[in-house]
Structures are given as C-alpha cells and as structure tokens.
C-alpha cells in the first residue's frame, strides 16, 4: 500500500517534467536550443488555470494551456527562426516575459490578497486492463489522462526517431542542416513544426502542475521545473527512453523525500528536498556517457 501510493505519487510528480522534457527533446533534435521551457510551462500553467476556473472544466483548461504553449512556441519560432535572433536570447527573454506577464495578469485578475484559487481537478482515468496488472495495478488506478499521454509519447517518439523517414529527417536537421537543405528539405519548416509541438507539450506540462498536482496557481508556480526538464534532456542523452528514465528518477526520489518527511524521519526537510537533485547528479557522475548531442544544436539561423 505504501509502495503503491509512493509509485503513484512519483509518476504524477514525474509527468510535468516528462512532458516538457519530451518537447524539448524534439526541438533539440532538430537543432534548436530552447531555454525558454520554463516560460512556456509557466504560461501554460496560468492559462490552464484561468480557463479551468472560468469554464469549470479541467479538460478545457488543459486544452487552453496547450494552446498557450503553442503560441509561445510561435513567438520563439518567429523571433529565432524567421528573424534569426539568437536562440539563447529568445529563450531567456521568453522566461522573463512569462514570469512578468503571468504575475501581473494574476494580480490584475485575482488580486494579491484574495484566497488561493481553487481549480477543478483532472479526473482519474481508469484504463481497462491496466489496473489488473499484478503489483502495478493500483499505481495506475487513479492517474489522469496527461500521465498516460506522457507515457505513451515515449515509445511514440522513440519509434519516430528510429524507424521513420520523418524522424531521420528531423535528426538530420539537428546534425547537419546544410546537408538536409541541400537535399531539398525545408529545414526551417521542420524546426518550426517541432517548436509548436514542444510548445503544446510544455503548456500541458504547466497544466499538469495547476490542474493535477496542486489545483491552484501561484506566481512562479513552475519553480524551475522547466530548467529541470532542460537538464533531463541532457541526462537522457537526447533519447526518449533516457528522458523517461531521468524524469521518473526525479519524480520517484521527490515522492520518496515527501514520504520521508511525512514519516517524521530525522532529516531536516530542507535536506530532504535536496535529494532529487543530488541523486540525479550522483547518477550522472556514475554513468558518464559519450556525446550524442545534435551536432548543430543552437547554431545561428540564416536570416533572410
């Protein structure tokens, strides 16, 4: 019982990181370095909260969060890929814009002193058969739809990159865009497409935070999770399965430290909160790997 609730909590905590990291993985594979994940997530979290509160439906909220993420992705694509502005600058600017924009909008709409926003919760979706799995069944008994979506995306992306022509082309854009362009592929269109998908996933990641994990919105609710997602992509060595491992490790250790705190374990809670970051570092140091980063990652776009 304890183990099952621990695994279920770990899976829920891993989901926003996993969604955002898979989106970032997709764009980095096409050679775009988006350090604005945090801003995309935060925008998604806020818009999802507003839409869910107004409509009373968490589904509408999640959809709105994804749409907001796509719009932020569009801003990134237009600035970095159409105008040729440096990708790191665009990412840093988006983080500031999102933090200031959502903060100001939140204060304007809900005031600074009012009670916390109470949002509709994403309902659990029992998947027939899954809950009958020996041992793991109860872990999946009450997970929401976004958790399944995140988990399903892992094999989907792995299949896309390894087994399809589209995946091969996407990877070519990230490793050698000139070669891909010389074969007649519209490199920029592929990159823009990847960015919009990543925007949707980051927006959903933000929606998971406000609609499934906390059921409220506070300023800066993402609290650096976008940066953790960025780190998880490197941790996972730009592979979907690696990203899943990184996100699950992070989520499970996070769930573990919450259980330690709840069990009145004689560890100061601040040190317990450090655990997910320390364990991730320890795993990185223990299993160093060879470079597999897209070779043209972050390379400047030719402005036209």
């Amino acid at each position: 019982m304890l183990l099952e609730s621990f695994l279920a909590a770990g899976l829920l905590l891993a989901t926003p990181i996993l969604l955002a990291a898979l989106g970032e993985l997709l764009v980095e594979r096409t050679g775009v370095l988006n350090i604005g994940v945090e801003g995309m997530m935060l925008t998604g979290a806020f818009v999802a909260a507003v839409a869910a509160e107004a409509s009373g439906s968490s589904g509408v909220g999640a959809l709105a969060g994804a749409t907001a993420g796509v719009l932020v992705g569009l801003v990134f694509a237009w600035s970095a890929l159409v105008l040729g502005t440096d990708q790191i600058i665009v990412g840093a600017a988006i983080n500031l814009l999102a933090l200031g924009g959502t903060g100001a909008a939140y204060r304007a709409m809900y005031g600074t002193t009012g009670a916390a926003l109470v949002l509709p919760t994403m309902p659990g979706v029992p998947v027939p058969g899954l809950s009958l799995l020996p041992g793991l069944g109860p872990v999946f008994a009450s997970q929401n739809g976004l958790v399944y979506l995140a988990l399903l995306l892992v094999p989907t992306l792995a299949f896309l990159f390894r087994r399809t022509g589209l995946g091969l082309r996407l990877r070519a854009m990230g490793d050698h865009p000139q070669a891909a362009a010389s074969l007649g592929y519209r490199v920029r269109s592929y990159k823009i497409g990847a960015l919009l998908c990543a925007g949707a996933l980051s927006g959903l990641a933000g929606a998971t935070l406000t609609l499934a994990a906390t059921n409220t919105f506070v300023e800066g609710v993402t609290a650096g999770r976008g940066f953790v997602a960025l780190a998880v992509v490197v941790f996972g060595r730009w592979s979907p399965w690696g990203v899943l491992a990184g996100a699950l490790l992070f989520g499970l250790v996070n769930a573990l430290q919450f259980q330690l705190q709840a069990a009145d374990f004689a560890v100061p809670h601040q040190l317990a909160l450090m655990l997910p970051y320390l364990v991730t570092l320890a795993v990185l140091v223990s299993f160093p790997g060879r470079g597999v980063a897209p070779r043209a990652l972050g390379a400047a776009e030719e402005a036209r």
Binding site: L33, D86, A93, L97, M274, P288
Partner: protein, 356 residues
Amino acid sequence: MSSWAKRDWRRAAAPAGAAVALAVFFTGLMAAVVGASPLDAVGALVSGSVGSGGSLAATLLRTSPLLLTGLAVMLAFRSGVFNIGAEGQLLVGALAATAVATRTGSWTGQAVLVLLAGAVAGALWAGIAALLRDRRGVNEVITTILLNFVALYLVSYAVDGPLKEQSGAYPQSDPFPMTAELWRLVPGTRLHVGLLIGVTAVFVVGALLSRTSLGLRLRSAGLNPRAAQVAGFPVGRDLFLAFAISGALAGLAGAIEVAGVTGRLYERVSPGYGYTAIAIALLGGLRSGGVLLAALFFAALSTGAAAMERTAGISAVLAVAIQGATLLAVAMINRTSWTGLAAASKASDSESIGVA
C-alpha cells in the same frame, strides 16, 4: 581610457539607447493595456528610478548584484562555459559570508574576509561543475542547474539550523556585526562600497578578457575549442579558471548583498539575480561595458516599477516582462553583433560530453 575600452563602450551605446526607448514604449503600452495612463506610468517609472537622490541610490544599490552576476555569466559564455549556475554560486557566496560574519565574533577588517569567503565559496561551487565536466564529461548546463537547487535548499537549511538566529524566532541568521557590514558611500542612503567593487570588476574582467594571454586563451576556447587545443593551449586548466573566476564573481555578489543590503541571511535573499544575470549578459552583448549598462538598466526598471505600482497602480512584477520584451526587441534589431554566442553555446553542448 584605452582604445579597447573605447571600442567596447561605442559598441554598447547604440543598443543601450534602443533599450531605453523600447522600455519606455513597452511600459506605456502595458499601462494602456491595463487601463492606466501611459504618461503617468512612464513618469513614475523614471522618477522612481533616477528622479531623485534617494531613488538613484536605490537603483545603484540594486545594480551591484546584477552587475557582478552579469559579469560572471558573460565571462563564462565568452569562455565556452555555459554557466546557468550564477544563482547557486551567489547563494553559497552569501552563505559563506554569513558564516564568517555571524560565527567569528566581531573584529576590525572582518568585512574583507566576509567578501573573500563569498568569492571563494562561489568559485568552489562552480568548481564542482568544472570538475564534473573535466573528469566525467558531464555537461555543465545540467550540473549548474541542479546545483542551483541544492544551494537554495542549503541556504534554507542553514538559516533554520546551524546559522539560525540566537533568539530562534524566524528562519534567518543573526544580523551582521558592524565590522562585517560594508562601508556606506553616501550618508543617509544605503548605498555601499559594493557598487565600487562592481564597477572595478567591469574593468578588471574587460582587461582580463582582451588584454591578457589568459583572456585570449579563454576566448579562443569559447570560439573554437578544437583550435585552442591544437594551438597547444592548456584547455583543461583554463576551463577550471573560467569556472572559478565566474563562480567567484557570483559568490562575491552574494556576499555583497548580505553584507551591504540585507545585513543577514534568509531563504529568499536573492529574487533570482543569477537567472536575470543571463539576460543581462546577453543584453550587454557579452561585453563588460555592455553588461554595466544592462545591469544599470535592469536595476532602474526594478526600482522604478515599485514606484509605478505605488503611484500608477501598475503591478511591479510587470517590470520583469518589460525586461524580457526589451531584451528580445534589442536582440532582434541588433542581431548581427552577437556573433560568437552561438559558438559558445554550441561548444558547451556538443564538445563537453566528448571531452571526457
């Protein structure tokens, strides 16, 4: 002023003018969006940031941590080190400074050791990321991000544990003794000697990068790590130096903040200076003079926004959005002058893992 410095300033002047004009425009625009008078908002922003002696002092006070962390990020990026960890390095700098200030009694000259402790702690914290990249081939983007969170919880633990105030009422350290506080520059204001340290650092870092052989080696490693290696530069040793100097600057910022402004350590001592520093380094065009102007500009926006909230009723947090909009707009207008940055980021991402 020597010729390198003149060139540096001239390159920084045009984007600086554009940034101010754009910030005024965005402030007016956002005021109009929320239904306030754009003229009142801009007026409050200007008078609240540079309009009086007091507000100017507040702006300059805010400049020190932004300037030093901005220089830290700038030096790292120019050296091909993608240090996202200025926030964590600042926090451990503040932590070490607080330990020296509140746990060694009170003695003349203590403030010097307080600042030194901050710089050393920041350098060592960045050194962890350098060690992991050099020995284990772990990318510094991931290590510095993770170490930021570790540093945050370390501070949070310290002020509720070993460094907690004697009275034990709140999770914060004891106040610094007089001997550990920084000298005030202008009586009647809180403006302290940290600003002078920051401005000195602008010239030292600028000269280091453009005038010394170490600077040449660091910039070479940033622009083309392979070429630096082929040229026989001690790339491994220089990597440690780049991390250490960058970390020391950020750590110094943390020490200055606690010894000059807050007078004690608590969990939320930094409102994310180390993350804002990335935007400042980029807005400054990765040049020391540009970083100084960008830090002044961001500091003026933050202090002016507080006044804007009081008089024009526009939320102060909007200043962060104005900073972002200005950074983006300036980069769009001025995008040719950021050459080398892509190389820096690329070097750190594709080379570091293979370095092992």
